[in-house]
């Protein structure tokens, strides 16, 4: 049943990319447990505006866990305490009266803070640009049923493709690696018959672009815990295997 709780928030405020940031404490009283976490912040912001203070900048869009726009460190956990749940689908019934909640932006050098809780995640787009596609020009495709894809293969490819690109894996990783994101995107295409033609070039380019922007993966597994889509780190293992193969196969072309 719904109830009202009082909370103390410690929120990261930072005026701009080069400004110095600090934690600011806000009392959030009378919050309904039916509210989502972001609706709680909406309420806090309404009160701030009423008091003449600039509202806390945080990003969100679909608020149903699919667009990947939102993402906060909540008490040190990417997307907060509920497993397999993006920040926008986290509800206040996961918290108790009197709780102190620390709210930070994604913590990673490759995600510079833009303002308060909003960060710049363009480095992830760069990884896709490096090879996260199948090179097929529009209009040149053969009939869709020409190539059968085993159901298990399609389902596993989908499990990888379900990545929403939120960046929680990076925020959760002690090395700030984007390995789970990269592996999910690589394996989505590498598993499918359509993706075979560019498999080795894709793997090498995407993994190395990841390494250029982010830290390296050392198999902590924090990313899997934080992922709102519960994408398994098996995909990282498969990508590592593909990467080693790619280094050999891609070399063959010059040798």
């Amino acid at each position: 049943m719904s109830a009202e709780i009082n909370l103390t928030l410690k929120v990261w405020r930072q005026a701009g990319p080069s400004a110095e940031g600090r934690f600011v404490t806000y009392e959030a009283d009378g919050i309904s447990t039916d509210a989502s976490f972001l609706e709680m912040l909406d309420i806090v912001n309404e009160r701030l505006i009423e008091a003449g203070e600039e509202p806390i900048v945080f990003e969100s869009d679909c608020r149903e866990g699919i667009c990947g726009t939102c993402g906060l460190m909540i008490n040190g956990q990417a997307h907060g305490p509920q497993k397999g749940t993006a920040t926008c689908q986290l509800h206040m019934r996961s918290f108790s009266d009197g709780d102190h909640i620390v709210i930070e932006p994604w913590r990673a050098t490759s995600f510079p803070v833009l303002r308060d809780l909003a960060v710049d995640r363009r480095a992830m787009d760069a990884i896709i640009g490096a090879g996260g596609y199948i090179s097929v020009n529009t209009g040149a495709a053969p009939d869709a049923n020409l190539t059968p894809v085993p159901k298990e293969t399609a389902d596993t490819a989908f499990d990888a493709a379900a990545c929403i690109g939120c960046g929680a894996c990076v925020a959760a990783c002690p090395n700030s690696a984007a390995q789970l994101f990269t592996a999910a995107k690589v394996q989505h295409l590498n598993l499918l018959p359509q993706g075979q033609a560019q498999r080795w070039a894709r793997t090498e380019a995407m993994v190395e672009t990841m390494e250029a922007f982010f830290g390296s993966c050392t198999n902590h597994g924090e990313c899997e815990e934080a992922c709102p889509k519960e994408i398994p780190i098996d995909f990282i293992a498969w990508t590592n295997r593909d990467y080693i193969k790619a280094k050999v196969k891609n070399r063959k072309l010059v040798g």
Binding site: A35, Q89, F158
Partner: protein, 578 residues
Amino acid sequence: MLTYHDSHRRAHSIAAQGGINAAKNYQNDGDSVYRLFYDTIKGGDYRAREANVYRLAEVSVDIIDQATAQGVPFAREYGGLLDNRSFGGAQVSRTFYARGQTGQQLLLGAYSALMRQVAAGTVELHTRSEMLELVMHDGRAVGVVTRDLITGEIVSHSAHAVVLATGGYGNVYFLSTNAKMCNVTAAWRAHRKGALFANPCYTQIHPTCIPASDDFQSKLTLMSESLRNDGRIWVPLAHDDGRAPHEIPDADRDYFLERKYPAFGNLVPRDVASRNAKTVVDEGRGVGPLRNGVYLDFSGAMARDGEAVIRAKYGNLFDMYERITGEDPYRVPMRIYPATHYTMGGLWVDYELMSNVPGLFVLGEANFSDHGANRLGASALMQGLADGYFILPYTIGNYLSDFLGDPALGTSEPVFATAEQAVGDEMNRWLSIGGTRSVDHYHRELGKLVWDYIGMARNKAGLEKALSEIPALREDYHRNVRVLGSADTLNQSLEKAGRVADLFELAELMARDALTREESCGGHFREEHQTEEGEAMRDDENFTHVAAWEWNGEGAPQTRHREELEFENVELTQRSYK
């Protein structure tokens, strides 16, 4: 390529759940291009343009080929071929899907193709850039002016043509299934520069959404329509029945859809299901703490098939419901209520998808062309991708060929300076009002008016009321809104201020359009125009036309233009679901 998102991967198409239609006839159940064309015309209640819809049905099959080649992981059968399902009232299985995330996968396919071009250097991305002015020169669209949402920089972009694929205006209701950032601003700013806005009153309300839980509610969440296959919809017979659902015996329940539509029962089309839910809630028979929903009850299906079967079919949806409401739908019936989902109206375009402004092309939900007065399930993705992949590439060349070898207009031309000035002035205006209430406050209030008077059912008195109350609220908004901070930084209140101002103007036009259209059709239901059974009654003699509105300047009502719709291949009939 411009977007106000942080990445092009986040466009709201990502949220589409159900699937995408295509006349592949892979299931050998008699589907054809003609049949998809016919269903779409009929589903739109005979208010769409025949030629456009036929072309849409034709290219639908190419979309599936293209998406599959891109690596979109559509659902497969065990033999490895593509699976289909029947969806949204279609009698054939023509819907391709990727679990409940078809929109996400199709969008990511398009995004990956885009990123390939970016890497190849053929496309330049401008993210977090919001279009705030359409720039015109010699009667043509020659560019846009944007505001960089991080730095506040006002930037001119010059081009031979401008293509808007900027989505619908469902957020005029404040509460909708649309993402929070969806807005009408790009289309509206183009309208203010002369582009006609067509059929704004055609909006679609989806019947199965989770009801609002309180005043702080920020958006409504759609529960897949497929739930109606096994769930039975009911409310108590008595008004203000305070008993828990399991304490209400069958004799005291009203399964209102089964009662009124014995043939289709709980599976009637979206508009019919939505209106009937509204009727019983308005009668005071709504359920839940706010009495604002109807039950969607799976106890019968679970008794018949077992809980495991229901869990296998709908497990993820039940989990989502529980996450949001805190109620376990395996034990307590779900509560659902209709919510705004899609807008069929939009900028008027010709067969080439060009607006009446030369050089301004409009694609997807932002245009008005294919869905008439009501969109069928699984056809939004179809139209968006058809427009972008297979129609615009052919039609825009025709326009561009006139400028072969001509450079685009320089951004140092006075028209750009004027537009930049207008954007700068607008920002300063919002920041200098210094009022007392937030932008969201006004947006919420506007949404209530639009929902009450231009929602699921409309009538003359209500629409006239809307036409007096919306401008009054708008005036208050412009006088009394509080936008804090500055224009040279990431300022979300400032972003929203302009978007809400545009929604105010649109809302008024919606009311006027709805008032003028003296008939009921599809998503536009005028209470004065219904059959004895309470169904939508069209007036084909007087309203078989598109209403396209022309901007006449601030404070002056728009002029209504008509495009007559001619049906050469389809006979106009009354929809019946009894």
